[in-house]
């Protein structure tokens, strides 16, 4: 059988088909393929593509900044300060021991689709986040409720035993295991947002694809296209809709900082507010401009020491390492965004707290401590192994540290740049000597930074165990008096960053965003770098 003959007969038609296909491919975008959407009032570059928009599932800031518009908790964040203010609950009472919260819902609450929002919806939403079947990463945000952790672990099957109950249609009672100073902050956290039961029970994991999607917050979800955009429209049935400033908001996922800046410069977007969309190479130039804003942020950059390995089991060695780091040089030479050097772990400006002094740069004391530990001038000190994930900034910092420790202490360090997931695995298995680390607070309280270094905590990752530290953290969490509580935390942090030093804080992150204050109002700089959408508006220029 010879194919060429047949093929030749076949191909005139094929050629026609080919040109027809090319024509339609080319013509497609001109006719109808692009959805005709009205322009947005505000367009925001929001960082990475959201992993999810389900409040129970999300874990990252780009997701929070969208979901904050779609759903609301009993409290919500003040756009200026990011402190909790009344949300779906108009008021609440707290028992004197701080263990029982009684919330009174507003009576005019409805979903964007018109059905009323009741106390049962609140209870349902919280239990749903705890339900093992939901598999929420952040279920821990609800472990402050009685029996919540056991319910999440499957040890208690009956949801009624969890410490949240609807007393009547408009009253919710929460029972806690400890007086939790930041519980009202948590009520404004997505894991505790109120979500639509009927839709979720009907559509399961696909519930966010339903249109119209019932929302409890100031905005409704109009469109969510992967790596394209999330479009929100004002929810006219939101209880505070009168104060929602903009009708339509587009949030664009942008991966490349250069692209983000280009879009902003060409006027296609109004605001860029994710740190990952700031071109680091241009920072020192950009930060001199009036439309670039830098502010303190609830995040720390630090080094973990693996105390299960010699010689890092000796606190003198760890202190020597900490004292030999000229943090100023790192901040000025590498970061350049106005970051503050850190002698302690909890960032300045954290609520309910006043941090202690830590260790400052003191090369002489560092040398002395190292000599006391048995390594004068670094003699006999093993070659140490520093791991970091392969990001340019982290690599630059690693190189700088390598040089400082060689010059001051005579210690040689090997740099091990690892792919992100490999790096996380090495941290978890304690397969390192020193490790680049960072932490961003989940809520505005010292507990989110200090709580993780208790013995055996999943985020400890240093092997450090200290009974007095554990006792202090536990005592602080049992203390209803905020001033006394702050003092106990301070004692604990002193132990952590000055005496024992399993972690070496380097600097505090800053938040950076850019928008023209003459054109955009209602984006405020706060320590959580959260920006409730309903307050944002474009100034209409008078002609």
């Amino acid at each position: 059988m010879v194919f060429s003959e047949r093929a030749r007969r076949f191909f005139p038609r094929a050629r026609f088909c080919f040109f027809a296909a090319v024509f339609f491919l080319l013509a497609g975008p001109f006719f109808g393929c692009t959805p005709h959407e009205p322009p947005a009032d505000i367009t925001i570059i929001n960082g990475a593509e959201p992993e999810s928009l389900d409040p129970a599932i999300i874990t990252g800031q780009p997701e929070f900044r969208i979901v904050i518009g779609l759903f609301e908790g009993l409290t919500r964040l003040d756009p200026r300060t990011a402190r909790p203010i009344p949300g779906l609950a108009k008021s609440w009472e707290i028992s004197p021991d701080g263990l029982v919260y009684t919330f009174h819902l507003r009576t005019n609450l409805v979903w964007s689709t018109g059905e009323p929002i009741t106390a049962d919806d609140v209870v349902y939403s919280w239990i749903r986040s705890l339900n093992p079947a939901t598999a929420a990463d952040y279920a821990g945000q609800l472990f402050y409720l009685k029996n919540a952790e056991d319910f999440n672990a499957g040890k208690i099957k009956d949801a009624a035993q969890v410490g949240v109950r609807a007393l009547d249609k408009f009253t919710v009672r929460a029972e806690l295991t400890h007086p939790t100073a930041f519980f009202l902050d948590l009520c404004a956290f997505p894991t505790l947002y109120v979500v639509p039961r009927q839709t979720i029970e009907k559509y399961g994991d696909r519930w966010l694809m339903v249109r119209p999607l019932p929302s409890s917050g100031p905005y409704e979800l109009v469109a969510w296209r992967l790596n394209d955009k999330v479009r929100l429209r004002k929810n006219p049935r939101y209880w505070d809709a009168a104060n929602t400033q903009s009708e339509i908001i587009d949030l664009l996922p942008i991966n490349s900082p250069a692209t983000a800046l280009n879009l902003y410069q060409s006027g296609q977007v109004d605001i860029a507010w994710d740190k990952n969309v700031i071109p680091v190479e241009l920072l020192d130039v950009l930060l001199r401009r009036p439309d670039f804003h830098v502010f303190n942020f609830l995040g720390s950059y630090f080094i973990r020491c693996n105390v299960t390995r010699k010689p890092f089991d000796d606190p003198r060695v760890r202190r020597a390492l900490a004292l030999a780091v000229d943090k100023n040089r790192i901040v000025k030479k590498i970061l350049k965004a106005g970051e503050q050097t850190a002698a302690h772990l909890v960032p300045d400006g954290t609520a309910n707290y006043l941090p202690p002094d830590g260790l400052d740069y003191n090369p002489d004391l560092a040398k002395q401590l190292l000599a006391e530990a048995g390594y004068p001038g670094g003699k006999g000190f093993p070659r140490l192994d520093y791991i970091f994930d392969t990001v340019k900034v982290d690599e630059d910092i690693a190189v700088e540290l390598q040089q400082m420790w060689r010059d001051t202490l005579g210690i040689d360090m090997e740099l091990r740049g690892l792919e992100w997931k490999v790096y996380l695995g090495s941290l978890d298995r304690l397969d390192y000597d020193l490790a680049r680390s960072s932490w961003v607070g989940d809520y505005n309280d010292p507990q989110t930074f200090l709580g993780m270094f208790i013995s055996g905590d999943g985020n400890n990752r240093t092997g450090w165990k200290n009974p007095s530290y554990d006792a202090l953290i536990s005592a602080a969490n049992d203390e209803p008096d905020l001033t006394k509580r702050a003092q106990i935390f301070r004692q604990a942090e002193t132990l952590l960053v000055k005496d024992e030093v399993p972690v070496i804080p380097l600097f505090f992150y800053v938040g950076v965003n850019y928008f023209d204050t003459n054109r955009i109002q209602g984006v405020y700089q706060n320590i959580l770098d959260d920006h409730p959408l309903q307050s944002i508006r474009k100034i209409k220029l008078l002609k």
Partner: protein, 304 residues
């Protein structure tokens, strides 16, 4: 018959590819739910793994995957938990297909004439200029070309948008940036092919018979000369149609190329395997199409 056989062979081939992709991505250290912050209790992680059956032995997971696949279900993304792999393909593939097809057209539209022209003017200044341009296009990578194009046409001249994917105007820069490399490659292949074909005996014979030079080049030489281009265009189209990570990233195009790369960094098992399969299917189909085109273009090639 031959092509039917090829199609039948493709099925076990795809099975092997899926098994390999599945095994390799599971072997890579770390998992989809490893994050910088460990969950508040080990049970949370256990719940997550149970929900997505990651706690089962790997062969069982693979069988489950194949079972779903038989129903056309590629599974749920473990990173984008509200989306299935089918969603990701349905949303991203049309965009990547359009971008790729346009870039293919661009590459052919520039590469073939340029190759023909440089070969016809062999050894003269037109040849040197053209060949230099083709070489330049091949040597300068997309992540350099794209920002330069943006700088020139979007920022300085303000003729075209800097990024995004909304109107035909938005497509011009990414299509050019993506197609330029392939245009250079095709120009070089065409030129080589032309020069080789020109030395064939049948060309000498045709010339001896007194065929006009232009007719000779167009009708006879070119037809043989494009054969290397045709065989190259199979994998090239597969590359173009399944999206380009760099171009999609720079222009923020909602295609599938970004997922193809990021899913393995994220250990998004289902997306990695699903998109590998998609890539394999496209590649197999296009290679088949190339072989088919061969029989049409070159009477010397026959498949029994």
């Amino acid at each position: 018959m031959y092509f039917l056989k090829r199609l039948v062979v493709a099925v076990p081939l795809l099975l092997v590819i899926s098994a390999l992709a599945f095994a390799l991505v599971h072997l890579a250290p770390g998992g989809p739910f490893d994050r910088e912050r460990a969950p508040a209790s080990p049970e949370i992680e256990r719940n997550l793994k149970a929900k997505y059956h990651l706690d089962e032995p790997i062969w069982k997971q693979y069988c489950r995957y194949l079972g779903d696949l038989a129903h056309g279900d590629f599974g749920v993304s473990l990173k984008y938990r509200n989306h299935t792999v089918n969603d990701i393909i349905a949303q991203g593939l049309p965009v990547s297909l359009l971008l790729g097809a346009l870039a293919f057209g661009f590459a052919m539209g520039i590469g073939l004439p340029l190759g023909f022209f440089t070969a016809a003017r062999r050894g003269r200044w037109q040849d040197f200029t053209g060949s230099f341009l083709a070489l330049l296009a091949v040597c300068v990578p997309g992540f350099v070309v794209a920002p330069l194009l943006i700088l020139a046409f979007a920022i300085k001249l303000k003729w075209l948008p800097v990024a995004l994917w909304a109107s035909p105007w938005h497509m011009i820069l990414p299509v050019s940036a993506l197609g330029l490399y392939f245009a250079g490659k095709i120009a070089r292949l065409t030129r080589e092919g032309m020069l080789n074909a020109a030395q064939s005996e049948f060309v000498t014979a045709a010339r001896a018979k007194g065929l006009a030079e232009n007719a000779l080049l167009f009708k006879h030489v070119f037809r043989i000369a494009v054969l290397p281009v045709v065989s190259y265009s199979g994998p090239m189209l597969a590359d173009l149609l399944t999206g380009s990570f760099i171009i999609e990233n720079i222009f923020q195009i909602p295609g599938i190329g970004v997922f193809l790369v990021n899913s393995s960094l994220n250990r998004d098992y289902t997306v990695v395997v699903g998109l590998s399969l998609l890539y394999a299917i496209v590649l197999i189909a296009l290679n088949l199409a190339v072989d088919f085109a061969y029989t049409w273009l070159d009477p010397r090639v026959k498949y029994e």
